[in-house]
């Protein structure tokens, strides 16, 4: 059991791939089917390109705020590959890669960050909760999803994400404790990317690891190299197994790094050094996973070049489409407060409609 072997009090960090993508822990190397490995890599690649472009679009004044994922792809794709279609995903707000993997479309994601609620209306079969801005509050949603799965005997596990900063929040505590008390099928993944906007990890907690917070809830915890896709995969797989066996939640701390700014409104140069950022470039999760797949001959440099070109185009055309979608209609803005508009809302809607028709807006 990995969670025993890597009990957070032992101060060990689970790692399988080194910085060059060589397997350094052969016994733990998972046997993932080639097509899954490929999907993982493709999603990471798409995520990376989308991320870089989104920042560019924003700099060009075409995109609104955006919260970059760069550097955190492994912490998202490894776990998602360990899930099945039945499983739920409750995100925070920096999980573009995970959402893509679970079936949210790039168009929807761009539409959301472009400032349109329609971007959170995922396709019917997609079991992902919308981007969750109030820090920590998604954890109890996950616990509730998982409770419902449990008592309805659905074969579902819920994966919930949170940041290092988010672990300080009361909502984190209550949600995870609730899930633990009811032994629900849930896996909580902390993306410890070392920063909460400008606030360093040290200000989130005096605890040496965030994984050891598991002990407070009587559940297993583990620290994982969050830039190692395979390590994240195996840790999550074991947590999911535990959940399916009725053993309750597990906590995974993914040690990773936010390579970009907090959001496009943030200037990280104010609070962190270039050296720190440079050092983390060595551990780039995409490079590591790419090398692994090159070594396994699942991809080639040529296939990768083609993929990159294809995705570059895809990202550009998708964003163009989103940009062309324009403004949200008055009706859409009023239509989803309740199933039916109340008489008062109807009145307000009609008044505004009349005003906008005659006076424009």
């Amino acid at each position: 059991m990995l969670f025993d072997q890597y009990n957070p009090l032992k101060k060990k960090v689970l790692q399988i791939l080194d910085n060059e993508g060589q397997v350094i822990n052969k016994t733990l190397e998972p046997s993932i089917p080639d097509d899954v490995l490929l999907k993982m890599y493709q999603t990471m690649t798409l995520g990376r390109i989308a991320d870089i472009k989104a920042i560019q679009f924003q700099r060009q004044g075409r995109m609104l705020t955006y919260a970059p994922n760069m550097g955190q792809e492994a912490a998202q794709i490894g776990p998602m590959a360990a899930t099945s279609d039945n499983d739920w995903l409750a995100v925070s707000f920096r999980e573009l890669n995970a959402m893509l993997y679970k079936g949210v479309t790039l168009e929807q994601l761009f539409l959301y960050w472009y400032g349109n609620e329609a971007g959170s209306k995922y396709n019917d079969s997609v079991k992902v909760l919308p981007v969750n801005v109030p820090i920590g509050s998604q954890i109890s949603h996950a616990a509730g999803l998982a409770y419902a799965a449990k008592i309805q005997k659905k074969d579902e596990v819920v994966i919930a994400y949170i940041g290092d900063g988010g672990t300080s929040h009361g909502e984190f505590h209550e949600g995870i404790n609730f899930g633990a008390v009811f032994n629900v099928p849930m896996v909580i993944i902390i993306q410890n990317n070392h920063w909460a906007i400008s606030t360093p990890r040290a200000k989130a907690s005096k605890a040496e690891t965030l994984a050891q917070k598991a002990i407070a809830y009587g559940i297993p915890g583990i620290q994982v190299d969050g830039n190692d896709t395979l390590a994240m995969y195996v840790a999550t797989l074991e947590a999911i197994k535990r959940a399916k066996l009725g053993q309750g939640p597990s906590l995974i701390e993914a040690i990773t790094y936010r390579m970009g700014p907090h959001t496009t409104s943030d200037n990280p140069k104010i609070y962190r050094s270039d050296e720190e950022v440079e050092a983390w470039k060595e551990k780039d999760p995409l490079k590591r996973f790419k090398n692994y797949l090159l070594n396994k001959k699942i991809i080639t440099q040529a296939s990768d070049d083609a993929l990159n070109q294809e995705y570059n185009q895809l990202v550009l055309s998708t964003f163009k489409q989103v940009e062309d979608s324009g403004l949200v209609s008055l009706e859409e803005v009023f239509n989803h407060t309740y199933q039916e508009m109340t008489p008062l809302l109807k009145e307000q809607y009609n008044d505004l409609k009349k005003y906008e028709e005659t006076e424009g807006r």
Partner: protein, 327 residues
Amino acid sequence: MALLNILEAVNKALETEMQKDPSIVVYGEDAGFEGGVFRATAGLQKQFGVDRVFDVPIAEAAIVGSAIGMAINGLKPVVEMQFSGFMFPGYNQIVTHVARFRNRSRSKYTLPLVIRMPYGGGVKALEHHSESLETLFAHIPGLKLVIPSTPYDTLGLLRSAMRDPDPVIFMEPKRIYRAFKQEVPDEDYTVPIGKAKVVIPGKDITVVAWGAMVREVESALKLIENDNISVEVIDLRTIAPFDRETIVESVKKTGRLLVVHEAVKSFGPGAEIVATVQEKAFYYLAAAPKRLTAPDITVPLPKGEHHFMIDPKQIALEIRNIVSMKA
């Protein structure tokens, strides 16, 4: 027919709906095994099992937050806040999520759930056990807020709340939980959300109240029986979205309005009713619409609470005052 008080009506509504709808789950602090500190959920765990009726850790944010997850994943949670004064830790979830999931996801995720809570003063309780916090829910788009004043309405409204496709806050006037009994039909019935009730028709003045205040108004009428004032008493029943039509029509007829509520005055629920009425019936007003409310202070502990509570004599005086104003 069964003779029930409000508390029993809550219990019966839960019981009968749970029998019909297996997706309903009921939980809250002490709401499971012992059936709640007021016993509103008594007997339900025995009847429906611990998966559907259960105690939870003391964690209001998680209570509300988990209900959101459950509602999204096929259940219909009816959760209890032990007292409305303890809902604050869950208020973040209520405002930022319960009220918004439908809109945020453009109706992909909807939240059929009910949050019940006893509220109001006059029960000689500790601090935080007596507040009237209607405004804090009524002001939030995406929420509905229901407050019954009789056993019949409690049963019918709570059923409607459980059948509503959207989240409903259900505040229960604990002061009259056991104050009186009423015959209620055995067969299934509901009382619609969003409809006020003209309790007593009249033509000189409209008095709007809800929860425990409805009875106080009724008591006040006895004090002015011989005054020859015809009072129309309206039980609002749904605070949000409230039944503007019934109230505005009434005031158009009477020309006078008094709103009576337990909440503190400033920026309270009465202000909205008064503002709405003068927007919609300004030219019908014979006197300034008035509010009779608690003063703008923290609910005092029991030895000072009498200064805070509204009594029928005050209501009677206020009615006389307003009616005496020349048109």
